[in-house]
Symmetry: C2
């Protein structure tokens, strides 16, 4: 009886949804608007489950920043950090940074190949199945896009910080594959290339490749998602997202730095900016309470958020409720992984007065997350530069949230 009812409901909904899909004339720009999913049949739900109809978190595209290559196409898709719990980002909600928006290569893993060549004794080409026969490693790491920087006009944490996500990645250590090929004397860099028109490549020092990089085929227990580079992606823990080449096709071992299309920001006239780092510094953000949220009234709340660093493990997170004058250490209740999102929390009694909340991270190297003004000094630039241009390097500045006396929460970046 129960099953029959559920089945009929499932059918009606699926039929209506299919009609709606037919009505969409999809272009890149129209693809920007999220809509509800058609529900699955009971049969499908046995095979592959889905979330509750009451759970409606969605990613949103960055509308004011289209792909520089294909006008009208989405460049960045933001993950809803304000609605996430724990440390892992659901694969369906992982941020996307790509020149092609949601239109990604439709690759058959049986035909895709990955090549290592250049300054090696034995250039080798691997199928995905061949890579899966190598010893694998699974590690939890964040990936954060260089474009992840807060601006005063952004309202929510999805807008200010939604270009970072964290997954359990599974793949083959890059060092193992390079040893298999035999790296020649004099080699000092690698250049990677993916199947995007812009190649998605980057120059990375060989030392990093031999350290903790991997050629990943798995994400959160299943194959990589297409938007994350299915079937193969380079994982470069702690580095700017763009180095984590999707739809990975080849790695060339070379003797020097090669400029690639993806050197966003690195290619600058001003030496101080061109010389910026590629490894993320210590960073954190409060996800509750954060911009656009509403506290029902004075009382005890659990401030919570995420901290991470490209330099290793998070050692400490501190929270200020007075705009950075005094700091109190937050709790990190779970296990801490290197170069991974780390959930923190702190009980906080709100008295109903306007105040400004901030979090700051110290990583295992002892690096401290900077205030906005300190970050500007670090780059030898006046704060005004960043106000008008945005930060051009990795932006790990402290994010302030103002809690108004009516309980509404606002971006307090100026």
């Amino acid at each position: 009886m129960a099953s029959k009812k559920a089945s009929r409901r499932g059918f009606l909904k699926a039929g209506a949804a299919a009609a709606a899909v037919g009505a969409i004339k999809t272009t890149g720009a129209e693809a920007a608007l999220p809509q509800a999913q058609p529900p699955k049949s009971l049969k499908d739900l046995v095979a592959y489950g889905e979330r509750s109809r009451f759970v409606t978190s969605v990613r949103v595209p960055v509308v004011d920043r289209p792909s520089p290559d294909q006008f009208g196409l989405i460049f960045h898709i933001l993950t809803p950090l304000q609605e996430q719990v724990g440390n892992i980002t659901p694969s369906s909600l992982h941020f996307v940074g790509t020149h092609r928006g949601a239109i990604v290569p439709d690759l058959d893993p049986k035909e895709h190949k990955f090549m290592i060549h250049g300054m090696v004794d034995r250039p080798l080409e691997f199928t995905v199945d061949e890579l899966k026969r190598f010893p694998s490693v699974s590690r939890i790491h964040f990936i954060e896009c260089l474009g992840n920087h807060s601006k005063p006009e952004y309202k929510t944490v999805q807008e200010t910080h939604g270009l970072t996500s964290c997954s359990e990645w599974t793949g083959v250590p890059m060092s193992l594959l390079l040893k298999e090929c035999g790296v020649q004397k004099g080699a000092a860099w690698i250049v990677s290339e993916g199947l995007e028109e812009v190649k998605g490549g980057g120059s990375i020092r060989l030392a990093k490749a031999m350290d903790d990089m991997m050629v990943a085929y798995g994400q959160n227990g299943e194959p990589l998602r297409p938007q994350q580079g299915f079937p193969l992606r380079l994982i470069v823990p702690g580095f700017e997202g763009v180095y984590n080449t999707k739809w990975l096709r080849r790695v060339k071992v070379v003797d020097r730095y090669y400029m690639t299309y993806n050197d966003y920001g690195h290619i600058q006239k001003e030496e101080e900016i061109a010389a910026m780092t590629v490894q993320w510094g210590p960073k954190s953000v409060i996800t509750f309470p954060s911009g656009g949220q509403q506290l029902p009234g004075p009382g005890v709340y659990q401030i919570t958020g995420l901290a991470w660093s490209g330099g290793g493990k998070v050692r400490k997170v501190e929270i200020s409720a007075d705009g950075g004058q005094t700091w109190k250490e937050a709790e990190i209740p779970g296990e801490v992984h290197s170069k991974a999102h780390t959930r923190f929390g702190l009980n906080w009694k709100w008295d109903g007065q306007e105040c400004t909340l901030m979090s700051r991270c110290t990583d295992e190297l002892g690096q401290l997350q900077p205030m906005r003004s300190q970050l500007a000094q670090h780059f030898h630039e006046p704060p005004d530069y960043y106000k008008t241009h945005g930060v051009q390097g990795t932006d790990n500045m402290i994010q302030p949230w103002r809690v108004a006396s009516d309980g509404s929460v606002h971006n307090a970046l100026v």
Copy 2:
């Protein structure tokens, strides 16, 4: 151009799939057959991504074991362990054990409430939003159903071991909520109840509740999936799956053990069986090569699989390629979490001769995973008993896989 093409293809497929859904007269038994999903529109893919069309892993129902309560309904749905990588189980592929198959309560989290009462000073009722205001904890734990036992007639690792899965769970420590209520003197047990017709409850010692139990609302970064108890589930790390009450409604603090509907197996005439443990012992299984898989020929392979224990962290995994006569320690390349799936691997050169592969786990308590014959002795029962009845307690026996000289792999349990 590219986007238009993708859209048209999406529409045609969605239409065909909807027609197929209409043709299904769903009953519990017919719901057993997985089918392909209609693809999403480009618009939807911005909001919430999906896997590649080349990735087709699906769960399958246990067809020979229908729900004892509702004839024809599915009781157990098996996760495809043979196709998973890393340690996390994708939420859509998490095993399901429930009396209602895929038909699960459709609960509105705004209306759902959870109550703690019984031997407490202050009985309290919590909404989901209220629970989210408490300090949260996120931990990676396996959940394994008591029904997860291998039988000689099962062919694949999905059939022999597909009732265990591993997620990052987020929720409120049970100890915190119990302290909030004030546990009274003389209290020694708790009884939990969910929203299934059979209540899904269990009696658990108060000491466990005060140790590492949690009331979870999050799974792998997003709200619990409906099939996993949305919006609230009890997490009882290391204990039989049935204790992890789904659609959690209440916990009663009591002074003694209460029998509940879910005491499968525990209610036995034979004292030795009635007294069996509820905490999983050290367990492991090789997922590659495993039953139903095919090695292309002699050569070097990476044996890989998962190990776990209800007693804490996995300390060591050993592999035998000669049916248990000699053992070699496997590598554990990632971080090891307590009461969590732990991926292991070992390079193995197959010479083309028939052989039997086994894995065994030692946990941090020093407990060693038993051979089938040892497990039988432990319960003071002749092996024949288990042959005909299946193991009635937690089954953590070593799983042997026979590699035939033609490279085919078979269940070698006898």
